[in-house]
């Protein structure tokens, strides 16, 4: 699977200590150059993210044609443009970015949804999947109703 990922989601993965999710299976994670620029401006310097980039696990990819969207910034626009060009799924925790991408007919997924794909593809056991969702909930990345909805989605 090919995912175009945005800055905030990379930061969230780093905060969770989950950047190794980018190393599973045949998944590929790409982002536009503007995301790299933005990461460099963050206080924490995002060393682990750049290590992934340097090791070739993730890739910065140039955009040929940037789409145009009202209401969202250049970086978010570039993530959507990249997903559109490469037929990638948008991996983002940003609600408005996902809404814009969905309007273009692009598939969008959050980190919680990504975990579900890992379970369905056999990368994670059910226990691992449940543990990860619990961590998202306890880290306040998920609300209680969402967490319960996720649990219902996996329980027989």
């Amino acid at each position: 699977m090919l995912f175009a990922i945005d800055t905030s989601t990379l930061i969230i993965l780093q905060k969770l200590g989950w950047l190794n999710l980018c190393r599973y299976g045949d998944n590929k994670f790409i982002w536009p150059p503007s995301v790299t620029v933005e990461l460099k401006l963050q206080k924490s310097k995002n060393k682990e993210i750049f290590d992934l980039l340097d090791s070739g696990v993730t890739n910065e990819v140039e955009i040929r044609n940037r789409l145009s969207f009202a209401e969202i910034s250049t970086t978010d626009t570039e993530v959507i443009s990249l997903a559109h060009e490469r037929s990638a799924t948008v991996l983002s925790e940003d609600k408005l970015l996902c809404k814009k991408a969905s309007k273009l007919g692009l598939a969008t997924i959050s980190v919680a949804g990504l975990i579900m794909t890992f379970y369905q593809r056999g990368f994670f056991s059910k226990e691992e999947c449940l543990t990860r969702w619990k961590e998202l909930y306890e880290g306040k990345f998920l609300s209680k109703p969402e967490y319960h909805e996720l649990l219902q989605g996996i329980m027989p």
Binding site: T7, S8, Q42, A107, L150
Partner: protein, 106 residues
């Protein structure tokens, strides 16, 4: 600039206690300190609400508050504002992606 405000006795007493507990120099200093905290928190909450309503991206919210994206993520977490509110759709997308991938492999 001087402002005059009327405080109910109980609140005044609480501010006096806080002045002592916080080691601040005066009642006025405590009121200023508390007001500043309250204004900052309210600003953050208002901006976070824009994200919650789907009117602004995290990045735009960060710019409005003049904080980094990392700090904005933590502000949303502090207010327990969910990043997404469409988990059913997320699960459907996950199912669809895996189905498509498996059928492409066959």
């Amino acid at each position: 600039m001087n402002e005059t405000i009327t405080l109910p006795p109980q609140l005044r007493d609480e501010i006096q206690t806080l002045t002592r507990d916080l080691g601040l120099v005066s009642h006025d200093a405590t009121v200023q300190y508390l007001l500043q905290k309250a204004v900052e928190r309210e600003k953050k909450f208002l901006v976070a609400s824009l994200y919650q309503k789907g009117q602004k991206t995290m990045r735009q919210c960060a710019a409005l508050l003049k904080v980094s994206l990392e700090e904005m993520i933590d502000i949303l977490r502090d207010f327990e504002i969910p990043f997404h509110d469409d988990i059913t759709q997320q699960l459907e997308t996950a199912n669809k992606l895996v189905r498509e991938m498996k059928s492409a492999q066959v």
